[in-house]
């Protein structure tokens, strides 16, 4: 179990991690989501004791990382940045790590075979591709057979085959009862692997929730309607509490009202419908909206500064973004 308590990390004027608190429960995959620069890597480095927090703490089963006996037997970590000397062979890189933990040499060969690097074990890592480097990082993380894995963007830069491999590996490891804390800036990746998500933006917690709840909460429902009587339909939908936006091709995008209700209202009012189809915004779009709103919320007022004084700003809203942005702006309510 990882407990992050009121963690803060500042670099000069920049606050990378801003009073962050969450818990990673054992025995499941917890996704750690946020756009690039949200503070995911920094948070992981703080948990792993590589960086010193400005304030707050992070504990692994009640202890700071540095107080874990033989930490690699306890926690396996894959960091985003390269952490290997290019002049050393894959085998020797893992060997010295194994020696610090009293892990036998045979285990080095075992993890090399596990990640499919056994044929290049004696090659210097200088010539390794990004994918091979990532596999070596996974091998190092698995070296001490840890119960807890902390993986920072493990699929970054991998080819589709590599992505599937990592995904299956994580599922296998989780099925063995291990705790996995994995960061990503790709929502769809998390939707297929994670049981739980912690979402941050600008170093702050946006959401800490079950993946199913997250998907249903943030997947926006929009209904596409085509009708020769747009005015009548707009009136009927507004009466239902929905919002209507006209698309340039003449279709109406309705949010805030379900398709059956719209159909019933149209039938009641005698409005002809040519099309009535629910559109499910992708999770990725939902996530982008969520985090974009967070970024907007914190952005300097430069965007409005170009407006002449006295004129109110006129933010542009489209059918999907409106209520989502509002939800995200509500910040902690999302939890």
């Amino acid at each position: 179990m990882i407990e992050v308590r009121d963690l803060v990390k500042r670099y000069g004027d920049t606050t990378a991690v801003d009073h962050l608190s969450f818990t990673v429960e054992p025995g499941r995959i917890t996704g750690f989501l946020g756009p690039n620069g949200a503070g995911k890597s920094t948070t992981m480095r703080l948990i792993l004791g590589l960086d010193r927090p400005t304030s707050g703490s992070s504990l692994i089963d009640g202890k700071p990382y540095r107080d874990l006996p033989d930490p690699l037997r306890y926690v396996g970590a894959l960091l985003e940045a390269r952490a290997v000397h290019p002049g050393r062979t894959a085998f020797n890189h893992l060997l010295y790590l194994a020696q610090t933990q009293g892990v036998p040499k045979s285990r080095v060969n075992e993890v090399l075979a596990l990640v499919g690097l056994d044929t290049v074990a004696k090659k210097r890592t200088k010539g390794f591709s990004l994918g091979m480097g990532q596999r070596l990082g996974i091998a190092a993380a698995l070296l001490g057979d840890p119960k807890l894995l902390i993986l920072d963007e493990p699929v970054n830069g991998l080819d589709p085959e590599g992505i599937v491999w990592i995904r299956n590996l994580m599922k296998t490891l989780a099925a063995e009862g291990r705790t996995i804390f994995v960061s990503s800036h790709l929502m769809n990746e998390m939707a297929v692997t994670a049981d739980h998500v912690v979402v941050i933006g600008r170093g702050k917690l946006i959401a800490d929730t079950d993946i199913e709840d997250f998907i249903s909460q943030f997947s926006q429902h929009v209904v596409l309607v085509r009708t020769p009587q747009p005015e009548e339909l707009t009136r009927a939908v507004t009466a239902l509490g929905g919002e209507v936006t006209a698309r340039s091709d003449g279709a109406l995008m309705v949010s805030g009202a379900e398709a059956p209700k719209i159909g019933e209202a149209a039938a009641r009012d005698g409005i002809v419908l040519h099309e009535l189809s629910p559109q499910r915004a992708s999770l990725e779009e939902a996530f982008m909206e969520l985090t974009k709103a967070d970024v907007e919320f914190h952005a300097p007022d430069g965007q409005w500064a170009v407006q002449p004084p006295g004129q109110p700003p006129t933010p542009v809203q489209d059918a999907v973004s409106g209520s989502l942005a509002a939800k995200a702006l509500g910040g902690d309510d999302v939890r």
Partner: protein, 274 residues
């Protein structure tokens, strides 16, 4: 992949102890090429330049002035030891810097600190593991270069290990290299960037000494005497070059410089983000 390959049975149990860190640092040291190359350069430079300079001296013997001959005959040991050490020491400087700075330039420090989060223990293990081969090779080279110089000088300049202070100077030459290695290691750890750290060490070892000589009078003499490598090289003198520090006092000053730098390096290692 199957779950079988991840069984705990192959792992054993245990708790991190210092011996493991020593073993791991030894693995790190011996598995990169820069280590081998640095030691090869050290050996070739020390043996090569000792042979070259003593041979040149002997070659010009008949044309040399009597006062120069008398000076060499009076004090041949620094002549022999210093000629190889002057450039050979740079190999130790480079290796010392690299051992610390390459951790940062490659990002390896993250792997290292994840495995041994007690940073001071890791740093101590690294310093010990590096110093042992430098000391062993340094001592072997000192005795070898002394014997080579002695053989080349034979007939012209008599010298013997049993002469007063000669054994101390020869052993001291190896000790000097060992402390110099730690000196460079500390600077590499403080600066973290290989190029910057090597430049700094070479400036301190080679450039600062003639610069201090430009300072006027007594002040210049004192500043010069207390500079790290100037003080440290007193150990290879039979008759102290400057009258300010004796051989062991000079070596002590060098050791204090090194200890202070190591302490600063340790402080930054613990305080700064990896």
């Amino acid at each position: 992949m199957s779950a079988d390959t991840l069984t705990r049975a192959t792992i054993g149990t245990g708790h991190a102890h210092f011996g493991r860190l020593l073993l791991a640092e030894w693995t790190k040291l011996r598995t990169v090429r820069s280590t081998v190359w640095s030691f090869v350069v050290l050996i070739v430079a020390v043996i090569g330049f000792t042979s070259l300079f003593t041979a040149l001296t002997v070659g010009q013997w008949s044309t040399m002035q009597a006062s120069d001959k008398a000076q060499i005959q009076l004090d041949p040991v620094p002549q022999i030891l210093g000629s190889g050490l002057f450039l050979g020491q740079l190999a130790v400087c480079v290796l010392g810097v690299l051992i610390a700075s390459s951790e940062y330039s490659t990002g390896m420090i993250r792997s290292t600190l994840l495995a041994s989060p007690h940073r001071l223990r890791m740093f101590a293990a690294k310093a010990i593991v590096f110093t042992i081969p430098v000391f062993v090779i340094g001592e072997a080279l000192s005795f070898a270069s002394y014997e080579i110089g002695k053989a080349i000088f034979s007939g012209k300049v008599p010298t013997s290990l049993s002469d007063p202070h000669v054994t101390r100077a020869v052993i001291g030459s190896g000790l000097y290299l060992s402390v110099l290695g730690l000196f460079a290691l500390a600077i590499g750890q403080i600066i973290r960037h290989t190029a910057g750290a090597i430049t700094t060490v070479i400036a301190l070892v080679l450039v600062l000494v003639p610069l201090a000589g430009l300072l006027p009078g007594n002040l210049g003499k004192h500043v010069s005497a207390y500079l790290p490598t100037n003080a440290g090289q007193q150990i290879i003198q039979i008759y102290p070059k400057n009258q300010i520090l004796t051989a062991w006092q000079g070596f002590g000053v060098f050791a204090i410089w090194t200890a202070v730098l190591l302490a600063v390096a340790a402080f930054f290692l613990v305080e700064r983000d990896a």
